[in-house]
């Protein structure tokens, strides 16, 4: 009889405090380190080509796009026509959408050039821990229906 009472008491006391525990899984580990950002250029066959720009850190989407707009190395080309020195891109992100405002007009970018921008932005996004299904929306200096489209990168899906 007294043993039952003691057990009940012990259980009740035990239920009222913070108990030590085993090692518990608490979710996904943080990510985001990288030795550089991946930029997408176009090769001689008009195909998208990833190129790692070693900067010792991943950096932001804006930084990566600035590198992209600055231009490729010697063996790749770009289909984005830029004004010299104007590489500033405004980036706004939500978990589902990356909103880019480019210093470009629609006519300065081919569809492949748009893919270059989308893939570069999404690559940095994914590497810093974002979702691969996030969409990208491009804003141009001149208003155009292209700005309403939600885009994805053909290489990151």
């Amino acid at each position: 009889m007294s043993r039952i009472w003691l057990t009940a008491l012990a259980v009740m006391v035990a239920g009222c405090g913070i108990q030590p525990s085993e090692v518990i899984d608490a979710g996904q580990a943080p990510t985001g380190v990288a030795s550089g950002a991946t930029l997408y250029f176009v090769d001689a066959d008009d195909r998208l080509r990833p190129q790692l720009r070693r900067t010792d850190h991943l950096g932001t989407i804006a930084e990566a796009l600035a590198w992209l707009l600055t231009g490729p190395g010697e063996d790749l080309r770009t289909q984005i026509t830029t004004t010299e020195g104007v590489t500033r891109v405004f980036v706004e992100t939500t978990p589902d959408l990356i909103d880019l405002r480019l210093p470009l007009a629609t006519y300065e970018v081919t569809p492949l050039g748009i893919d270059q921008i989308v893939c570069t932005a999404l690559g940095v996004w994914v590497q810093s821990g974002g979702s691969r299904t996030t969409k990208v929306r491009l804003g141009f200096t001149l208003a155009t229906p292209e700005s309403a489209k939600l885009r994805t990168c053909p290489l990151i899906e």
């Binding site: 239920g15 405090g17 913070i18 090692v23 608490a26 590497q127």
Partner: protein, 470 residues
């Protein structure tokens, strides 16, 4: 040991049971609510801490040099906050004494699991949350691989512990509030159960005391009401059987009285005839005279028997009345003896002159019966001793015969009791002692039989000094 403390009364038992049940229920409710609340609290706190850590790390990693140098590790550690250790291969950046609490199990889980893990421990009587996580490199295809950077943070849970303690205290307080309510309810319930029981007990007590009209009205439709109905039925049947018996007894008494009365008239005629017959026996043949004498004796016996029967019936019917007067006790006893010519055979010892109120005729009946029995059944000398104190008087009649058998003592006052079956032809009616006892009781006194040490039978008549007329 608990059972020895279990109280005996129904009311305390009900009280204890009620209070125990309530306490248990309240305690269980309080415990479970406090328990789930504290679990929720711990979980939420834990999630908050890990989310914060994860966000802090994620915010800085894109700007972090990789592979990191000591400065990079220090930056990461500073971003995460105090009590944090960051390692990369042989490099290590740590701040805060609590970082020493990180367990090997957690370290192993971080190294092998590629996931964020936590562990709660207690150290120095304080609860701690250990958080460990690797920082991963995510490839463009979404694949995550360990970067070799590991972050360990130690967070104090004392604040949560305090909140839980407050929660528990308030739960216990709430449960304690139920206690007086439980006591009140128990008292009410016990009352509602015990009141009918007490009523039944009172009824049973009145029945036992002879009040056969006692009943308790059944209330409600529970088991106690059933019991009440049953007890009422029992009382009913006892009462009716008692009434039947009483009626039968009264009938029997009335029959004896009527029979005696009816016998009286023919008997007085017979007596007269026998008187005449008695005067004529001188001229009879010897055997005819013997028959006549026998007839005369038996007729006289019969007359006495009928008189005694009538007297007994009067006692039974409760119609006898004392005719009390102031009497000199010694003189009355003497007169009784003298009237029957016993003065020669009986020693009368009187210690003092005693006057008291009594029924002279009935005293005569008692004394004559006792002395007559002593003379008939015992041996001389027969002694009559009269004494008195402030409240009572005693008349003790002792003979020197064989005395009364022990087995006979309880029965000598029974009607028609004759100790010696061989002596059935004695002139007594067999009612004498019964009548004497009734007469003694009528005076508020008593008559007892026994044996005197060194002598024969001894009868003691005790009468109160002051007679209550009634």
């Amino acid at each position: 040991m608990t059972w020895r403390l279990w109280p005996r009364g129904l009311r305390p038992r009900l009280l204890v049971a009620f209070v125990l049940v309530t306490l248990l229920g309240a305690a269980a409710a309080a415990w479970s609510s406090a328990g789930s609340a504290s679990t929720a609290l711990v979980t939420v706190t834990q999630e908050g801490l890990t989310d914060t850590l994860s966000d802090q790390i994620s915010a800085i990693t894109p700007q972090l040099t990789y592979p990191p140098d000591q400065a990079a590790l220090d930056r990461l550690r500073a971003a995460v906050g105090p009590d944090t250790a960051v390692t990369y291969r042989d490099l290590r950046s740590a701040k805060g004494a609590a970082t020493g609490l990180v367990t090997d199990a957690l370290r192993a889980a971080v190294r092998t699991g590629n996931r964020l893990v936590v562990q709660r421990i207690t150290a120095d009587d304080r609860p701690w949350l250990l958080i460990g996580t690797p920082v991963t490199i995510t490839a463009l295809n979404g694949e995550r691989t360990p970067s070799g950077i590991e972050v360990y943070a130690v967070r104090d849970l004392t604040g949560v512990q305090r909140q839980i303690d407050d929660l528990t205290r308030s739960a216990v307080g709430t449960a304690a509030l139920a206690l007086p309510l439980a006591v009140l309810l128990a008292v009410l319930a016990a009352g509602s159960v015990l009141r009918p029981v007490r009523r039944l007990r009172d009824t049973a007590r009145r029945l036992a005391a002879g009040d056969l009209d006692a009943r308790s009205p059944p209330r409600g439709a529970d088991e106690l009401a059933d019991l009440t109905v049953t007890i009422n039925q029992m009382a009913e049947s006892v009462q009716s059987s008692m009434a039947t018996q009483e009626r039968l007894r009264a009938d029997a008494r009335r029959f004896a009285a009527d029979a005696s009365h009816e016998l009286r008239t023919p008997l007085s005629t017979l007596t007269a005839v026998v008187e005449v017959l008695g005067t004529m026996t001188d001229g009879m043949e010897a055997d005819a005279r013997e028959s006549a004498d026998l007839a005369i004796t038996e007729i006289h016996r019969m007359v006495r028997l009928v008189e005694d029967l009538l007297e007994v019936s009067r006692f039974d019917a409760g119609t006898v009345r004392l005719v009390a007067e102031e009497v000199d006790l010694a003189a009355a006893v003497w007169n009784c003896l003298r009237a029957r010519g016993w003065t020669e055979q009986v020693d009368l010892v009187v210690q003092q002159e005693i006057w008291l109120r009594l029924d002279r005729r009935r005293l005569d009946v008692i004394v004559a019966n006792l002395v007559g029995n002593a003379l008939r059944h015992g041996d001389p000398p027969v002694r009559v001793h009269v004494s008195a104190d402030r409240d009572q008087v005693w008349i003790v009649v002792t003979d020197h015969g064989p005395g009364l058998a022990e087995t006979a003592l309880p029965q000598v006052f029974d009607r028609f009791y004759k100790h010696d079956a061989a002596r059935t032809r004695t002139p007594g009616s067999g009612l004498g002692l019964a009548i004497a006892l009734e007469n003694a009781r009528l005076h508020g006194g008593d008559l007892t039989a026994g044996n005197a040490p060194g002598a024969g039978a001894r009868f003691v008549l005790r009468l109160p000094r002051t007679l209550e007329d009634g």
